[in-house]
C-alpha cells in the first residue's frame, strides 16, 4: 500500500542537540581514516587532517576563532526529524525496505563547539512509482542565535512489502 499523500506537510521536531568539541573531532577522525576516540584505542588525528577540524590552538588563530566541524557533521543533528518521520507509526514504513536514495545539504553557518542546534522537518513530497514509495523530507537546523545553519533534503525510497 502506498503511503497516503495526506501526510505531505506533516511536521517533525523540534529536536535539540548541543555540539561538543570532542564529537566534532571524532567525526572528522572517522571520516578521515582515523579512529573516533580520544581514549586508549585512539590513534590521534589522521595525517593531513585540516587543523581547523582538530587543533584548537591553531583554530583559535584561524578565520572562525575556534574549532569547526566538517560541514557534513550536520547529519548528526539534522537526521533527528528524518528519523522521527520514517519511524512515524502513522506512516507504517517497514524500515527493512527503506534505503536512503538521495541527500542534499545547504550550509549557511559553520558549526562550532557549544552551538545549540534546533532541528525541524516537514514532509515536502510523497509519491509512488514502480512499486516503491518516495518520501522527501526537508529539515532546517538553527543555532542558538536563531541563524539557519543547514537545510537538508532527504529522500527515502521504500519498497512495497
Amino acid at each position: 500500500m502506498p503511503i497516503d499523500k495526506k501526510y505531505i506537510g506533516k511536521k517533525y521536531g523540534p529536536t535539540t542537540y548541543v555540539v561538543g568539541a570532542e564529537k566534532l573531532r571524532e567525526f572528522a577522525y572517522a571520516i578521515s581514516g582515523g579512529v573516533p576516540s580520544m581514549g586508549f584505542t585512539g590513534t590521534g588525528a589522521p595525517k593531513g587532517l585540516n587543523p581547523l577540524l582538530h587543533d584548537a590552538e591553531a583554530a583559535k588563530q584561524g578565520p572562525y576563532g575556534d574549532l569547526i566541524g566538517l560541514p557534513n557533521f550536520a547529519v548528526v543533528f539534522s537526521i533527528a526529524p528524518f528519523g522521527q518521520a520514517v519511524t512515524d507509526p502513522e506512516l507504517k514504513i517497514n524500515l527493512a525496505m527503506l534505503v536512503h536514495g538521495e541527500q542534499e545539504f545547504e550550509f549557511f553557518e559553520v558549526i562550532k563547539p557549544g552551538d545549540v542546534m534546533t532541528s525541524t522537518g516537514v514532509i515536502t513530497d510523497l509519491y509512488d512509482k514502480v512499486g516503491k514509495d518516495f518520501l522527501v523530507l526537508t529539515t532546517e537546523s538553527k543555532n542558538q542565535h536563531g541563524k539557519l545553519v543547514v537545510r537538508g533534503t532527504w529522500l527515502a525510497v521504500i519498497r512495497h512489502s
Binding site: A30, I31, S37, P63, I68, L70, H100, E104
Partner: protein, 128 residues
Amino acid sequence: MSFSVGDTFTHVRTCDRYRPIYYAAASGDFNPIHLDPEFGKAAGLGGNILQGLCTMGWAVEGFVNYLGDPGKVSKVTVRFSRPVMVDDTITVVGKVTAIEGGKLTAALTAKNQKGEDVLKNTVVEARV
C-alpha cells in the same frame, strides 16, 4: 589560494573492516545493516554496508582538501547509487565546472575499485 574552472582533485579512501563501526560511533547511525555482516546478508546486501552518509563525507572531504577550508563548503547533493562494502576502495574525482558571483561549483564522481559509481549526480558548491 586561487581556484580555476577546470581544476581537478582526487581523493581515495578504503572502507576498512571497522570503518562502518567507527562511522557509527561518530555519527550515531548504528543501523545493524552497517555493523553486522550476518544482518546485512539476511537483508540481501551480501554483508554489512558502509553508511551512505560516510561515502558522502568522503566526497565532502575531497572537496575540503581542495578548498583548504572546511567552512567554505556551501552545498552538497548526492544520489546513493550502489552500496559500499567492506574492503571497497572509493576514488572521488572532482572537477570545477563554474566560478561566478563568489560561488564555486564542482561535479564529482565516486567509483569503487571495479569502476562502478557509488554516488551519482554529485555536485558540491563553495563560497570563494
